[in-house]
Amino acid sequence: MSAVRAATRRVLAVIVVAGCALIPIGTVLVGSIASRWFWPSLLPAELTLRGWNYVVSGSGGIGTAFATSIAVAFVVMALAVALALPAARALALHTFRGKRAVTFTLLLPMLAPPLAAAMGLHAVFLQVGLADSFLGVVLVHLIAAVPYATFVLAGTFSGFDPDWEDQARTLGANSWSVWRRITFPAIAPGLALAAILAFVVSWSQYVLTLLIGGGRVLTVPLVLVAFQRGGDEAVAAALSIVFVAPVLLLFALTAPLFEDA
């Protein structure tokens, strides 16, 4: 295979992959400022800032939704990492009976999106007073976020040698110093990655928040779908950009971590 053919192939592949990201983003960006964009025009007849004005003004619950989304995602991120840390360590560094079962229990909510569980939890939460509450929504997001965080951290821990910790302890360091100087620096990239994934998992949830939040806990995806179904495409598109931007930013900032972790 000549180098030229290989290079052409690579360019084509790059174009395809770039398209997978740019087509959705580009379409939505144009849609957010489009007015009178009818068949068969490839470009809108007019441009408008109506959609953006509305979104930026925060009215219609958008401001609250944004604040709520961030708050929920942050709490989910913090809790998911806190819960995942010991679990990941156990999964990676220890062997024990029932490991298969544990892995299964943690894997299922990640791969079978917990719509079904949320339908059941709806009634349960009502009875314990968690329905329509911030805490209820956080809890239900955790079902999906904790497994993600756990498995990422487990991957990190599998490359970690606990002997370093033992050595430090025999040299007289206390637990906190061991953590600060040995463990934490070693797993920091994986930790950051797990945190980001947990944040994004919570940020992107739609149907879970819809079922458990019950209209009281309003997040960006809920408002987005309401506008899209209501037919206001400019506002829906602008909201989509607002929805995607933080995720893209977080991924961009942490791209190098994906390789190390």
Binding site: R36, F38, E46, Y54, G60, L126, G215, V223, G230
Partner: protein, 408 residues
């Protein structure tokens, strides 16, 4: 000042400062008979009312969070908080589950509700009331028309505040004269295969569209379906209508293999020239969309001569509303001419109040309302109006449509 007076004043201050909805704010609807309207208003003053409404319309959201909320704060010192809903049936499901779980103090005071949702809510006993008879502004509405909602008797459990009428939209660039009757519309569909469709049931508008064929079957006048359910009548009339709708499928868009799921999809098809008609419950929807750049300026609306269904939108109070007095005050305000005129200016829509009960200035203001290029005059709409069918007809027809038209 004696120390006792001081304590009383302090307690009062603390009580007032401790939040705007005190546990004693809840009271049973039966108390209304003993209360004067002034008592209701004074209980409502200074409180917060949580209003659950569908949030997918920018103009509506802006209006209720802006001018409407401001007016309430100014006139009655009430803080209006909007609880956005993606779908009213979500809230109804939630209230039913709350009632089953025994939750006596809910989180919503007021809900915008209609038709099937109202019937379910009424049957499930999740509404507070009856209360409508206590509202001073009830006089502004036509007493006969507000007795029924989609055929279910309202029984004072919901108050009217907006009115809608089913209209079609078409593009004058593509169609010079729209069909004059439903029969002509059918012929048009047969002559122009693939150029018409309607949203699939359970979409509200799609259901109404299909229901017109039942009401206009020709065998009986539409009013025969209004009062109560007659199974014999239904079986007799619906069979040929359902068959006709099924036979219409091959002439519809995509040969009837599928239907758009929402009005948003229908409008997208309409605007992009895939179909030639759209439909909506708001007579001003076309003018609104032209103003927002979502429809071309050549779009107009029409109503067939046989008449289309008109319904009121209603407001109801959930059984466990924490602030029923506040809800009552807000409902009454929404039913007032001032509010209706303000709302018409901001959002369009059909003016729901009786013109004969308005003052001269108010009537002038109504006449001066900007109508938009695509909106039909009030008189045209009023003369081409039919009452909706009793709820059970709606149910049966929707179910039959899904099994016999959609799934066959």
């Amino acid at each position: 000042m004696s120390s006792r007076r001081l304590i009383v004043m302090l307690s009062a201050t603390i009580a007032i400062a401790c939040g705007s909805t005190r546990p004693s704010d809840m009271f049973p609807a039966t108390d209304l008979a003993r209360m004067t309207w002034n008592e209701v208003t004074s209980r409502a003053r200074g409180s917060t009312v949580r209003y659950a409404m569908w949030a997918g319309d920018e103009a509506r959201n802006r209006f209720y969070q802006g001018p409407a909320a401001d007016a309430l704060r100014r006139d009655l010192d009430i803080t209006l908080t909007i609880v956005p809903l993606a779908d009213t049936s979500d809230l109804v499901s939630k209230l039913m589950t709350e009632k089953a779980a025994g939750l006596s103090r809910g989180s919503v005071d007021l809900v915008w509700i209609n038709g099937a949702n109202f019937r379910t809510a009424k049957q499930a006993g999740i509404l507070w009331g009856p209360f409508v008879q206590a509202l001073p502004n009830l006089q502004h509405f036509d007493p006969d028309a507000i007795q029924h909602d989609f055929g279910t008797s309202t029984d004072g459990l919901e108050a009217p505040y907006e009115q809608a009428q089913f209209v079609f939209a078409y593009d004058t660039v593509r169609i010079a004269t729209p069909p004059a009757t439903f029969a002509e519309l059918c012929s048009w569909i047969h002559e122009h295969p693939g150029r018409f469709t309607y949203p699939a049931i359970p979409d509200f508008t799609g259901s109404s569209f299909a229901r017109h064929f039942l009401l206009h079957s020709g065998e009986v006048p539409p009013s025969a379906f209004a009062e109560r359910f007659d199974a014999g009548l239904y079986d007799r009339v619906s069979k040929p209508v359902i068959e006709a709708l099924h036979a219409m499928k091959p002439y519809l868009w995509r040969k009837g293999e599928t239907f758009p799921a929402t009005l948003a999809e229908l409008d997208r098809l309409f605007v992009n020239g895939e179909i030639d008609f759209s439909m909506n419950y708001s007579p001003t929807f076309a003018s609104d969309k032209i103003a927002r750049g979502e429809f071309p300026a050549s779009v107009r609306t029409f109503v067939p001569n046989d008449g289309t269904i008109s319904d009121y939108s209603f407001l109801a109070i959930p059984f466990n509303a924490p602030n029923p007095a506040g809800a009552l005050a807000v409902i009454n305000t929404f039913m007032s001419p001032t509010h209706a005129i303000m709302r018409a200016r901001a959002m369009g829509g059909l003016f729901p109040l009786r013109l004969d009960r308005l003052s001269a200035t108010e009537r002038d203001a109504v006449e001066a309302l900007p109508r938009g290029p695509a909106t039909l005059p009030l008189t045209t709409l009023a003369t081409r109006r039919i009452q909706d069918a009793y709820a059970e007809y709606v149910d049966r027809f929707e179910r039959d449509w899904r099994t016999e038209v959609l799934q066959r």
